[in-house]
Amino acid sequence: MSLVAVLFIVFGLISLTSAILMVTRVNLVVSALFLIVNFASLAGLYLTLNAQFIAVAQVIVYAGAIMVFFLFVIMLINPEHEKRFLEYKPQIKIFAIVIAVLIFLQIAYIIFLSKPSGKLNKEVSQSISAGTIEEIGRQMFINYVLPFEAVGYLLLAAAIGALVLAKKKFK
C-alpha cells in the first residue's frame, strides 16, 4: 500500500470515530474537544488530496478560531446536564437514527452505482498545482474578486451583529 492510502485509512478512521464520539458524549466540553480532533484529521485528509492551503486554513480557522469560540461560550453559560441517550424519548431518537442510516445507505448505493472513478482520471501534477496558494490566490483575485469582497462585508456584518446581540438584555 502506498503512503497516501495508509494516511487516508488512518485519518478517515480518526475522523469517523471522533465524529461518533462527539455526538454521543454527554459532557459538552469533551464533545467540543472531539470536534477539534475531527477537524485536525480532516486537515490531514485535505493533505492527502494535495490541498495544502485548505489544510492549513482548516487548522487555523476551524480547529483554532471557531472551536476556541465554542469552548468560550460553553464555559461561559455552563449549561445544565443533558439527559442520557435512552432516558428521554428513546423511541423518537431510535427512529431518527434508523432513518438517517437508511439515507446513508441510499447515498452510498448511488455513489457506488454511478462509479465516478470510471470517468475521472486523477492527474497528479494537475491536482498538486490546483492546491497551491498561488493558484487559489490567482483565481480569487482575478475571477472571484466580487465574492471575496462580499465575504469581507459578511464577516464585518456578522461581527457587528454578534456584538449587538450579545451586548445586553433585549426586551
Binding site: L16, L28, I54, Y62, P79, K122, L165
Partner: protein
C-alpha cells in the same frame, strides 16, 4: 496506486449523516451547532475531493468562502444562544418555545 474517489465521497457522507444524527438526537443548542459545523465540514471534504480529482482549483476557493461563512454563522449563532440564555436561563431547545402558541 491512487485511492478511488468513491471512498472519499462515502467518508464525507458518513460524516454528514453523523452530523444529522447529532442534530436529531441532541437537545442542547450548542451541541446542535457543533453538529452543523460537522455537516459543513463534510460538504467541504466533498468539494476538496472533486477539486483535487478534476485538477481544478475553484472548488478549493469555494471551500475558502464556505469557511468564512461558517465563521460568520458561528459568531452570530453563538451570540443568539447567549442572548437566549440571558432571557430563559436554558439552552435546551425543547424548552425554548416562545414562538409556539
Amino acid at each position: 496506486m491512487q485511492i478511488p474517489i468513491e471512498y472519499y465521497l462515502i467518508l464525507s457522507a458518513a460524516l454528514f449523516i453523523t452530523g444529522v444524527i447529532g442534530v436529531l438526537i441532541r437537545r442542547n443548542a450548542i451541541m446542535v451547532f457543533m453538529c452543523i459545523e460537522l455537516m459543513l465540514n463534510s460538504a467541504n471534504l466533498t468539494l476538496v475531493t472533486f477539486s483535487s480529482y478534476l485538477g481544478n482549483s475553484i472548488g478549493q476557493l469555494f471551500v475558502f468562502f464556505v469557511m468564512a461563512v461558517a465563521a460568520a454563522e458561528a459568531s452570530v449563532g453563538l451570540a443568539i444562544i447567549i442572548a437566549l440564555f440571558r432571557n430563559k436561563l436554558t439552552v435546551n431547545i425543547d424548552e425554548i418555545n416562545i414562538f409556539k402558541w
